[in-house]
């Protein structure tokens, strides 16, 4: 059961303001409820697997500068800084 408070807390965690909690609660609730089906899959003992790569296939340690002045294509401020909002103390 997902409560409105939980939704609000998660929206804070994910850093998205939402206006209409009720509407979100309803739909998110429907979706998450559907996930309850996973409880009956009987997979508790299953191991999690991942693709693998050999260390020898990884990138060589070379310095290759990016061929453009990237900062000029991004938001910049006072020369080449990026500006962020004020941080709370």
């Amino acid at each position: 059961m997902v409560t409105e408070e939980e939704i609000e807390q998660v929206s804070k965690l994910m850093k998205i303001d939402i206006d209409n909690h009720k509407e979100y609660v309803e739909k998110v609730h429907m979706m998450i409820n559907y996930f309850d089906i996973l409880d009956s899959a009987g997979v508790e003992s299953e191991e999690i697997s991942m693709p693998e790569i050999s260390i020898s296939k990884l990138r060589k340690d070379e310095h290759i500068p990016f061929d453009d002045k990237l900062i000029e294509k991004l938001n910049h401020y006072k020369g080449t800084y990026v500006r962020a909002p004020k941080m709370s103390s």
């Binding site: 965690l13 260390i55 340690d61 900062i71 500006r83 962020a84 941080m87």
Partner: protein, 468 residues
């Protein structure tokens, strides 16, 4: 009982490129936001491409700290929002699905005490925030991402330290080890940072972050122990929390982080498959590992008969031990060690001085050989060393330019001797009756040659000419 645990972050400053892209690992010489690319800026569509050498170097560190090294390592995402983190998650390591961090449990000896290592993980450094404006009201936050993605090794210890002094000793040993491995230059600004977990008997664990230097770490630990003990004695509960080190006031301050911000939602980084480091590669890394500090020390003592204390100093600083290794021969080893520990150390004791000096191992070898063969006196060798550090000229040039060479040419020396004999008839007579007093005449010759006369030769020639 006080318990202190550490989380040490060490940049792999000797790598050429960042952990997941080909920007430079050592970001220090760039203009603001000049050392960036779509990958380390986390631009839409970019993917991490793992640096092979970073994995190897991190594995070597794990081996040097006697940690287990798994055959497969995995990367995880640590999710949190902060402006210095371009993706708003950090790629790091964790042991959720078995031991998949680059290093498992290990240990380091600090004197007679064993400090246990919990885990070693390879991860990316964030960018740097710069605050402008005096008050919090007009504060402006600026970000420089040059550092973002720099390869970082995090070494987590068990809470095995009981005093701030033990912490300092450990960190000194650790930074010597890392430098000796050739993986990092711990003397670089910001290359090594540490957080501490401090708790006293009956209290909860308190994490201290934002400690700028090892020196401050000792102070922070000390402050925190005192604070906790004082709380305890007044029956104030010590809560589990994160505190920040206030560099200006030299105190720790509680940072009020909300509960929900602490949920990092760790999960496997799908963009990096599990990396296989099979036994053959591990073996190869092990054999290619630089000789350890303790083994060097032992060798210096047993092979060259260098005193233990000198060997200790020599082996623990990579700069000196490298010089020694390159400069010494079977015959001059002791002299080389002597020059390093008595003369050189006082002259190049900081990273800046080392960088500015033009001194090489060839200089060192020449100098030791020249002293041993009597080409220069020990006295003059100091002047020569100063000049070499400044100019980088080779020893023979320095000797001739500053006229430091020993006067060991017989005809040249005999000129000085004849002069002294004619100027000091009384002393000559005295020497004839009491040969011991010949030293006075030797001294006079030395004066005339500004200390460059070979003393043994001078004495022999004086004796001959006076006839004793």
């Amino acid at each position: 009982m006080t318990m202190i645990g550490l989380e040490i972050h060490c940049q792999l400053t000797n790598l050429n490129s960042k952990l997941f892209c080909s920007c430079k690992a050592n970001y220090r010489e760039f203009e603001i936001n000049e050392n960036i690319c779509p990958v380390c800026m986390g631009l839409p569509g970019s993917l991490p491409k793992l640096n092979q050498e970073a994995v190897k170097k991190a594995t070597i560190i794990a081996m040097a700290l006697n940690c287990t090294t798994p055959e497969k390592i995995a990367f995880f995402r640590k999710n949190y929002f902060y402006p210095d983190s371009p993706k708003n998650f950090q790629i790091t390591q964790l042991n959720i699905y078995g031991d998949t961090s680059v290093g498992g449990t290990g240990s380091v000896m600090v004197g007679d005490k064993k400090i246990r290592i919990t885990r070693i993980q390879l991860e990316e450094d964030p960018g740097r925030l710069i605050y402008e404006g005096s008050s919090s009201k007009n504060q402006i936050t600026l970000v420089d991402y040059n550092r973002a993605g720099t390869p970082l090794v995090e070494i987590v210890t068990e809470p095995d330290f009981e005093t701030p002094k033990e912490v300092r000793d450990f960190l000194n040993i650790l930074s010597d080890i890392l430098a000796n491995l050739g993986v990092a230059d711990p003397s670089l600004e910001g290359a090594m940072r540490a957080d501490a977990n401090v708790s006293i008997e009956g209290g909860k664990k308190v994490e201290i972050k934002n400690i700028g230097s090892f020196h401050d770490l000792e102070k922070a630990a000390h402050f925190e122990i005192t604070r906790q003990k004082s709380h305890h004695s007044r029956d104030i509960e010590i809560i589990q929390e994160t505190r920040h080190w206030d560099d200006k006031r030299k105190i720790t301050i509680s940072s009020r982080s909300k509960e929900e911000e602490l949920d990092y939602r760790y999960f496997l980084e799908g963009d990096i498959p599990w990396v296989k480091i099979d036994p053959e590669i591990q073996k190869k890394l092990q054999t290619e590992m630089p000789e350890s500090i303790s083994s060097k020390k032992q060798r210096y003592v047993s092979k060259y008969n260098i005193p233990a204390q000198v060997s200790d100093v020599l082996s623990s600083d990579k700069y000196y031990s490298d010089l020694f290794e390159e400069a010494h021969t079977e015959s001059n080893a002791k002299e080389v060690a002597n020059i390093i520990t008595t003369e050189l150390m006082g002259l190049v004791d900081t990273r800046e001085k080392r960088k500015a000096s033009k001194f090489t191992s060839t200089h060192l070898r020449d100098l030791a050989d020249a002293i041993q063969s009597g080409k220069v006196s020990r006295n003059s060798s100091k002047n020569a060393l100063h000049e070499i550090l400044k100019s980088g000229k080779d020893l023979s040039t320095v000797i001739s330019e500053l006229d430091l060479g020993n006067v060991s040419d017989e005809s040249e020396l005999s000129g000085f001797i004849t002069q002294v004999i004619s100027e000091e008839p009384q002393a000559v007579e005295q020497a004839k009756s009491n040969p011991q007093t010949i030293n006075y005449l030797v001294g006079k010759v030395m004066q005339k040659t500004k200390g460059k006369a070979d003393p043994v030769m001078t004495r022999d020639m004086l004796k001959k000419q006076i006839g004793v």
